[in-house]
Structures are given as C-alpha cells and as structure tokens.
C-alpha cells in the first residue's frame, strides 16, 4: 500500500505495462500448448496425416525466436521470395516517404494558396470534397493502367492518400492566422513572400504539422494493403507471402514490426510538431 504511493506514476505505469505483457503472453502460450502436441497421436490422426506440421496460431515463444532470428540478420537477400525483414521494411519506407513528400510538396503550397485566397478556396472546395473520401486503393487499377508500373503505382497510391490531410490542414491553418499578425507584417512593409515565410508559415505550422502527422499515419496504413496488391517487395508483400506459406509465426512477427515502424514514424512527426508549437 505504502510503497505503491511512493513510486512515481511513471515507474508504476511501466510496471503495469510489463505485468500486462507477461500475463497476456503467458495466457497466449498456455492456451496453445494445452491444444496438445505433447499428447501421443491417435491412430486416426496418423492415418489422416494430422501428425504433419499443421498451420495453427504459434505460441509467443516461437514468435520471439523468429524475431531474434530475423532481427539478427535483417538485410540478407536470397532472391525474390526470401529477403530480410530490414530490406522489406526499407522498400516500404522508400515508397511511403517518396509518395508522402511528393504529396507534401504539392499539398503545402496549394494549401497556402487556398488558405490565403477565399476565391481559390471556394473554387477548389468541391473537388477536394469529392476526392477526399475515395479509398486510396480504389485508384490502384487506374494507376496501374495509366502508369504501367507497379512500383510507381504504389507510390501514387501513397501520394493520393496522404495529400488530403496535409492540404486541408494547411489551408485551414493559413486561413486561421490572426489578422493582428498579418497586420504586423503589413506595417513592416513585408512583401507577400516574406509575409508567407516569416509570419504565416510559423503561425500555421502547428496545424500543418498535425496534417502531416495524420498523413504519415494513413500512408503507413495504406502501404501494407497496396503492397499486398502489387506484390514483389515490401512489408505488405512479406505478410501476404508468409500467409501463403502458412508461416503464421512470420506473419505475427511482421505485424508487430509494422506497428513498431508506424510508432516510430508517428513519434518522429510528433517531435517536430512539438518543436513548432507555440503558446499565445
């Protein structure tokens, strides 16, 4: 009771997290081993081939062993269907980041334009409203047909899914810049370019970064599905491939890796977001 109060919230939360981890892994492990592979096979099972390795949910110990094996040599390359997890994630990151930054390069300037000009806002709004709710994967067939290249099509899908949150947030942030600050720029005779860079951009930066953070999250969600469709390389293809091999241990391991990379991406943008945050 007493020690409980003396430990800081941080320490207690870490302890609780570890307890939850151990308990859930324990339950998982036990629930699978009682499924009984230790029990001798019945005659029926031997006859029907039940003794052969069967696809089942693997226990966490297998997944941990797999993780250790994969992470100790992440970049090996034994041909198209056997590459290290590091290489697969590298391909996915390459696609996500190139599609994402391409989208940012367009969304932020256009968002500025929309945010600064009520005319442009009204003119472009219907297009944005129609294009925004389209599932990015719906673009895939069209992209494959027009671009004729699966790699570029995957990048295009990332581009199209990450452009909207950045575009809308930039426009929203720019339009919401306080008139007082714009007046400061005007009384100091700043030209439009200087005003945009030294007043409007920093004023709208927290909102823009929120959009960029949402976009990178969506891009990482979409890349898995996109790579399952286009195949070849990438973490999405890897998951799909291991499922076809009925290697559920690898599937679970790669699911965890997808979550981990997504977390790192989000944390990175969260850090930049805190940098540009200001309080009035």
């Amino acid at each position: 009771m007493d020690w409980n109060l003396r430990l800081s919230l941080r320490v207690r939360s870490i302890i609780l997290s570890l307890v939850i981890l151990v308990v859930s892994l324990g339950v998982w492990e036990l629930s699978i081993s009682t499924g009984g592979s230790d029990r001798p096979l019945t005659e029926y099972e031997i006859l029907t081939g039940g003794g052969a390795p069967k696809a089942g949910v693997p226990p966490p110990s297998d997944v941990i062993a797999k993780a250790y094996e994969e992470l100790s040599q992440p970049f090996y390359d034994n041909g198209p269907n056997d590459k290290g997890i590091g290489i697969q994630i590298g391909y996915s990151l390459y696609r996500v980041l190139s599609g994402y930054f391409l989208a940012a390069a367009i969304a932020i300037p256009v968002g500025f334009l929309i945010g600064m000009s009520p005319l442009m806002y009204r003119a472009l709004d219907p297009y944005i409203q129609i294009l925004k709710p389209i599932s990015p994967l719906a673009w895939m067939p069209l992209a494959l047909f027009v671009i004729q290249d699966s790699q570029a099509s995957a990048i295009f899908v990332i581009f199209i899914c990450s452009i909207w949150p950045m575009l809308i947030n930039t426009a929203f942030g720019v339009a919401g810049v306080r008139q007082d600050w714009v007046n400061v720029a005007r009384t100091h005779e700043l030209n439009n370019m200087r005003t945009a860079l030294t007043v409007i951009l920093p004023a709208a930066a927290p909102t823009i970064l929120t959009g960029m953070r949402i976009s990178i999250g969506i891009a990482w969600l979409v890349i898995v599905a996109a790579e399952m469709l286009v195949g070849g390389t990438g973490i999405g293809y890897y998951v799909w491939n291991e499922w076809n091999n009925l290697d559920l241990t690898s599937v679970i391991f790669s699911i965890i890796m997808i979550g981990f990379v997504g977390m790192v991406l989000d944390a990175f943008f969260g850090m930049i977001q805190r940098r540009v945050q200001y309080s009035e």
Binding site: D180, R186, T187, E189, V199, P202
Partner: protein, 305 residues
C-alpha cells in the same frame, strides 16, 4: 500658415447596414485635425466612437470611406515603416522570443544590415525599455503583460518611425506598471522629433503625456469636437503636475466633456466654419498665477481615476 506634419481632412467612415436595405452606419464624419512635427497628441472619446478606426486609417491598415490623410506632404496609402504602431493587444509574434520580435522589425527596416548590426540595434531599444538580462530570450507567453507591452514599444521605436501610433497601450496594465512605462515612453520621446498619436481612456494619462488632447463626440456621426492644449511645461513629474494651476482646469474640462458634452454635442455640426475642432486654451499660468500663488486644493487631489 504652413501645412502641419500630419493632416487629416474630411475623414469619414461608413459601414453598410447589417440588415438589407437599411441606412448605412456612419461611425464618424467631418473629422479634421492636424498634428505638428514632434507633437504628442492624445485622443479621448467614448467606446465605439471610432478611435481605433481612425488609427487604422492613419496606420494605412484600413481605408476610410471619405477623406484623406497627408503625412509629410504625401497621402497615406497603405502601411509604411514611417509609421510605427503599438497595437492594443501588443500583437507580438508568439513563436519568436522578445529579442527576435524586435530584430524582426529591425531587419524589415534595414534589410542591408548584418546580423550583428541588427542585434546591436535591437538590444539598444530593449535596453531603453529595460528588458535585458535574460528576459529578452523568453517568448511572449512567458512574459508578463507589462513586459510584453515593453517589447511592443521597443519594436515600434526600433524602426525609428516618424509617427508613432499607440492604441490604448496601457489599458491592460496595473497602475504601477503603467506609470513606469509611461515614463519610459516620455523619456524615449523627449529629445527626438517623433510625433506621437495615442488613444486613451484615461484622462490623467492624457494630461500627463500629451501636448494636446483631442476630444471626440459620441458616435454614430462622431467627430473631433475640441482640441485642448494642456499647457503644462515639460519635463513633467507626477506629483508636481497636480500643483500646476492648469491641471485641474484641463482635467475638469476633459471630465466634463466625457460626462456631459460628448453626448450633447453628438451629431451636431461644427461651431467653427472651417470644420476644424475648436481650440481650448487655458491662460498661461506664468502670466497670471505666478504672483497670486493660487493655493492647491487638497480636497480635489484624491481624484485619481
């Protein structure tokens, strides 16, 4: 008579009526006045009579419906670095430190200067308002209201404008801070040929700071009705100023105007033919009161706001 440094002629501001088909709202009209170079002028009037609107026009941020503003022989069209503005809410850029807020302005004024020159110049003005020793590196959100106001004043002074426009700059400050920043403002202003135009609600502040106080009637159809010359020599000090024979005359005149005449005069045509505000001048105390040595009236002394 030569034209004054700043000349406002037939200024009027009308806004379209909020309900369709209604008459438009005339906030003020027939506003005429001039300000000489180096003069310190305060303008007083009830809330909503259009003081901020006039200031926005002087700053070039807003456009009047009618009339012209001429400064230094040139018509005011759009904002300019020749006119420094201290906004009512400070309007500091919250993502920049106090120092950066000032260098922001200095860099705009002197684009050719090196980093060191810009910094040295900015520090000079931060020192003038007493904001150095670490505080200059803090963001506005980490500064008190008074400190923010000092940064805002330093920023306006650092661009060395010809005309300084202040919109109720001390409204949100406590009396003590207000007093010290008023003194700083006077100290910086004295010895320059800077012209100051300041909005205030505080009669005592106006008398302490200004050479002349402009009085506005109530809106709508507000106008600048009178121009009261304070006529108290400088440098002024807070405790001596109340002993000056003009002090209560001016003060009573201003208070009376705000309490009664601003309403009575509202909407009426100018008494003087040329549309200029009537000049109110009290007899020079040096001539009359020097020998009679008018006694101070302690009963009225406590009237400080």
């Amino acid at each position: 008579m030569t034209a004054p440094f700043l000349k406002i002629e037939q200024l009027a501001q009308r806004f379209p009526s909020p309900d369709k088909g209604g008459d438009q709202l005339t906030v003020f009209e027939n506003v005429n006045f001039g300000i000489e170079k180096g003069e310190f002028v305060c303008i007083i009037g009830h809330s909503g009579c259009g003081k901020s609107t006039i200031m926005n026009v002087l700053a070039g941020l807003g456009e009047a419906s009618e009339g012209v503003v001429v400064m230094d022989g040139r018509e005011v069209k759009g904002p300019s670095l020749d006119r420094g503005v201290v906004f009512q809410n400070y309007s500091l850029l919250p993502w920049l430190s106090a120092l950066k807020n000032v260098t922001f302005a200095v860099r705009a004024r002197h684009p050719g200067w090196s980093k060191e020159e810009v910094k040295a110049h900015s520090y000079k003005y931060l020192e003038l308002v007493g904001l150095t020793g670490g505080a200059e590196h803090r963001k506005p959100s980490q500064l008190s209201g008074g400190m923010r106001q000092r940064v805002s004043i330093a920023r306006a002074f650092a661009i060395q404008p010809k005309l300084l426009l202040l919109d109720e700059p001390f409204g949100a400050l406590d009396a003590l801070t207000r007093g010290s920043i008023q003194d700083e403002l006077l100290r910086i202003w004295q010895g320059t040929d800077l012209t100051v135009f300041m909005i205030t609600h505080d009669v005592d502040e106006a008398i302490y700071l200004a050479d002349r106080v402009l009085l506005m009637t109530n809106g709508p159809y507000a106008r600048v009705a009178e121009s009261v010359e304070v006529g108290i020599p400088r440098p002024r000090s807070r405790d001596e100023i109340v002993e000056h024979p003009n002090y209560y005359k001016v003060r009573n005149h201003l208070v009376h105007f705000l309490a009664r005449r601003s309403k009575e005069l509202a909407g009426k045509e100018h008494a003087s033919a040329n549309g200029q505000p009537e000049t109110v001048r009290f007899p020079d105390p040096q001539d009359e009161a020097s020998e009679r040595d008018e006694p101070v009236r302690p009963t009225l002394r406590a009237v400080n706001e």
